[in-house]
Each structure stands twice: as C-alpha cells, then as structure tokens.
C-alpha cells in the first residue's frame, strides 16, 4: 500500500479545479462565465473520477473541452487582486521569508527522492515508489502552500483565488501536453512510426557511414518535432534507421549511437509546439505575446546541439 500515491494528488487537483469552476460560475461580473465554468468543471471531473468513467465517456468530455476552447468560450483572467504597491509593501514586510515556501518545493523534491521514497513500514510505503519524482514534487507543492498560508496569514481561499487567476492565464493550453500524449498514443496504435522510419531509410543513401549517422540524428529530431516526444521517436527511429544501418551495416557502437541519438531527439523537442509542456505552456505562464517565443529563443541552441551531435557521433560511433 502507498500512502501518498498519484490518486491522492489527482483528487487535490480535482478539488482545486472544481473550486475554480464554482467561483467562475457564481461570479456574475465574469465575462463568458458559463463556458469557463463548464471547461474547468469538466476537467475537474477527469481528475476526480477519471478512472471510474468509461474511456469513451472521457473521450467525449475531451471533445467537449476542445469545442469550448476552439469556439473561444473561455474568458480571460482578471487582473491580480493586489496592486503593485500592496505587493511591494508586503515584500518589504516579509522580506526573504517569502523564499521559504518557494524553496520548500525543490527541497521536498530532493528529500523525497533521497529519503521519503525509501520510507516504508513493512508493506506500507509513504510515497508511491513507481512515481517518486512526481509524488514528491506534488507533496512539495502542498507543503509549500501550507507554509505559505501560515507565513502570509492569508485567508484560506487566497491560494485558490490566486491559483485560479494563474490557471486562467494558461487557459486551455494547460491540457495540451496531456492531449498531445493522447495523440501520440493514437499514432502508435495506428502504426505511424514505422512508416516514417521506412521513409527516412529509403529516401537517403545510407550505404555511406556519414549519411547513416545524419539520417539517424536528423530522423530523431524530425520525428520528435512531429510527435512532440523524443521517447516516442526513440524506439521507432532506432529500430527503423539506427540499428539496421549504423550497427548492422557499418558496425557502429550501439551504446554511443543510442545515447547521442536520444539527445538529438531532445533538439527536436526544443523546436516544436507539439512539446507543449516545455514550449507553449511556459509561454502562456510567462505571459508572452508570441506563443512561439520560447521556441525562437531555443532554436539557435537546438540546431547547434544537433550539429554537434552529428559530428560527435560520426567521429565516435565507428571508432569505439
């Protein structure tokens, strides 16, 4: 048994979303309150009762979320409740104590990974050992919220109020990463991956060792660009391009190939809006007007790293 497993935190997140939806529904001054309340309410339901609902029902709920977002039924968040002067005054009062809760989040992550994840009484584990990283980050967020409330002596609803403002700032993009993962699953079920590997393998003269390396690294990057996830690209491109050409045909070292190949996939992650949790959600969270600003900032580094990987692999994979 696991005391703090993912389901505990799904319920906490679900309750938070439900409160967001409820507050929006009751707020007569909120523009588009019906659509917004429905969106966050449906999402709350997937967190609270996700495993109990039949997948096809969840599928149609997700379809409803998409329709609400695409027809622009979500209202914009209100401006922050505190003025700049109030915030500066509060910062002057609390000073560096304000960092305590913020730093408790990474501190709990460290403690969780190193200690809490190993704590157990017989068969009763404190953290879900299969998901130590995620559960300890979640635990950190909850602990930090508690400490933050005590420190600021804020009313208990303030975190919900302020969290609601931030969740609306991100808006529908917050479900995009999860939704893209679902698309990845459908692509995999339909057999899209092997088709791409086949295409890359036949379009290029892979009888040259350098071309094989180029096809593998670029294939990892491009496939990741399309799927938004290097982990999805890795088995497909490695089995379709890497192993047959670099290892079998040219006798390259599979460990070097795979290690650098995965990192070439990450270069694709830096370049694609499909990797929404890394590129699009942060743009919304940081209130950037250009949703692709993060990708544009990363592009020179991504291309540089990819080029370095290709050179590095070419000089090492056939030698060691």
């Amino acid at each position: 048994m696991k005391l703090l497993n993912l389901d505990v935190f799904y319920v906490i997140a679900g309750v938070f979303l439900l409160l967001v939806a409820g507050r929006l529904a009751l707020d007569a001054t909120q523009p588009k309150r019906g659509g917004s309340a429905l969106f966050w309410g449906l999402l709350a339901l997937t967190f609270l009762a996700g495993k109990l609902l039949p997948p096809v029902v969840v599928g149609y709920m997700v379809l409803a979320l998409v329709v609400l977002a695409a027809t622009k039924q979500l209202g914009a968040p209100r401006a922050g409740s505190a003025t700049a002067a109030e915030r500066i005054a509060s910062a002057a009062r609390l000073q560096n104590w304000l960092f305590l809760p913020a730093l408790l989040i990474p501190a709990t992550a460290v403690l969780g990974t190193l200690v809490l994840g190993k704590l157990h009484w017989g068969d009763c584990w404190l953290l879900d050992s299969a998901n130590v990283t995620v559960t300890s980050v979640c635990l950190g967020a909850v602990v930090a919220a508690g400490v933050g409330l005590r420190l600021t002596r804020a009313p208990a609803m303030t975190p919900v109020e302020e969290g609601s403002r931030l969740v609306q700032t991100i808006g529908w993009a917050i479900i995009l990463p999860q939704f893209l993962a679902a698309l990845g699953g459908i692509f995999a079920k339909a057999g899209v991956g092997p088709e791409i590997a086949d295409l890359v393998a036949h379009a290029l003269p892979t009888q040259f060792p350098f071309v094989a390396v180029l096809a593998y690294c670029a294939g990892m990057a491009v496939f990741t660009l399309c799927m938004g996830n290097a982990f999805a690209a890795f088995p497909v491109i490695t089995l379709g391009v890497g192993l047959p050409f670099i290892v079998t045909l040219h006798h390259g070292n599979p460990a070097i190939m795979a290690a650098i190949g995965m990192l070439s996939g990450y270069c694709g992650t830096l370049l694609t809006p499909m990797a929404a949790n890394f590129n699009v959600v942060p743009a919304m969270l940081l209130e950037l007007k250009d949703k692709n600003a993060v990708i544009k900032a990363q592009a020179p580094m991504a291309l540089g790293i990819l080029a370095a990987n290709i050179v590095l692999m070419y000089f090492c994979v056939y030698r060691f």
Partner: protein, 230 residues
C-alpha cells in the same frame, strides 16, 4: 503512406494557426479513421490516454495555488530586490547560473525546477530585475525576450543534464530498447556518452545568454535615444 495524414493535418493546422487543440483532435480522428478504427473507438482511445497522462498536467496544476499566493504577497518583487543587491548580476548570468545548477542536480537524479515552480516566480523576475538594475526601465519586447530565454534555460538544463550520471527514465528506456533487439549495453556506458553533449549544450547556452545581455543593452540604448538627442 496514408497513415501519415495525421502529421500533415498537424503541420497544416499549425501553418494556418487554427486552435491547437482542434488540430490535435482532427489529426487523431483522421489517423484513427484511415487505420480503420470506429469513431467511438477513437474517442475511447483519446479518453484512455488522456486519463493515463494526467500526471503531466498534475505537477503544473498543484504548483499554481502556492505560486499565486506567494506572488500576491510580493515574491517576484522580493526576487528582484534581492538580485539588485548583487552588483555583477546580469540577466544572462542569472540564466547561466540557473542552467548550471539545473544540469548538475538533475544529473544526480534530483529534479528541482520547472516552469511553474521556479521560472515564473524566481528565475524570470531575477533575470529581469538584474537587467533593470543595470539598464533602467526595459522596453516590453526586451522583457519578453528575457522571459523567453528564462524558459529556454530551464529546458536546456532539464534535457541535457539528465542522461549523464545517474540512470533515469531516458537511459532506462534506451537500455530496454537495445536489449530487446539483442544489444545489451551497460547503463554507465550510456550515461558516459551523454556527457559531451551536456557540455556542448551548456556552452551554447552561455553563448545565447551573453547575446541576450548585449541585446538588452542595445534595446535600452535604442529606446532611450529619441528622448536624449546628443
């Protein structure tokens, strides 16, 4: 070949700037239909994978109440105040320092950071605060460029430290995939060959961070010119 239609839908959708959720749904449905799945079957798959991947959204969601609370009580302002005391701080140096900490800690399997937990409340106000202390008021476009680079620093630090010292998710996936194909490799070898790229990534980040500092100086100079003709 017809199965690749989903990727075409995604590319076209992004090109014409349709709502991204709509594009993804359309890509999933067309791919499923050409692969011969019934419509309800596709909806069931969307539902199944949506529930299985809730953990991706979970960490961001749970972070928002505490970050919002601390922001309400002046966390970002305090982060700016603190960095202004460090005389040699620049936006670029803040990002270089953060990336270094992020790469080293994640190499040892410790995942501190994140866009919601660190970048919005701490890293981006510190980077902006350092630039502000040095150059005075920043044009809006410059502030946005600093924030975008803060997000980039988080991603670079996160991606290119992970596969080096301790075997975590990605390295285990690599080992599993190769072993299933009859190529057993050791975790240490895989981790070792991640190190050169980690250094390249850090070096490129240093380059971009310095370029960012030069850009900030340039932008501020350009913005202040019309007011002070010389």
């Amino acid at each position: 070949m017809i199965k690749l239609i989903g990727i075409l839908v995604v590319a076209a959708g992004f090109a014409f700037r349709f709502n991204t959720l709509l594009v993804v749904m359309a890509a999933g449905i067309t791919t499923g239909l050409v692969a011969g799945m019934p419509f309800n079957g596709i909806m069931a798959l969307f539902g199944k994978y949506f529930i299985e991947n809730r953990y991706i959204t979970l960490t961001v969601l749970l972070m928002l109440p505490v970050v919002g609370l601390l922001e309400r009580y002046g966390l970002r302002e305090q982060a700016e105040t603190l960095i202004k005391r460090a005389k040699s701080a620049t936006a670029g140096r803040v990002l270089i320092f953060y990336t270094a900490v992020r790469q080293v800690s994640i190499a040892f399997g410790i995942n501190i950071g994140g866009h919601a937990a660190m970048v919005r409340p701490l890293v981006s106000p510190m980077a902006e605060g350092a630039a502000h202390a040095r150059h005075g008021a920043l044009p809006e476009k410059t502030s946005e460029a600093i924030r975008a680079h803060a997000a980039a620093a988080e991603n670079i630090g996160n991606f290119f430290g992970e596969d080096t010292v301790f075997a975590v998710g990605a390295v285990l996936l690599i080992q599993g995939t190769l072993e299933a194909q009859g190529h057993p490799v050791s975790l240490w070898t895989l981790s070792f060959w991640g190190i050169p790229t980690a250094f390249v990534a850090f070096g490129l980040l240093v380059w971009r961070a310095r370029a960012l500092d030069r850009r900030v100086a340039r932008d501020v100079a350009a913005a202040s010119k019309p007011e002070k003709p010389q």
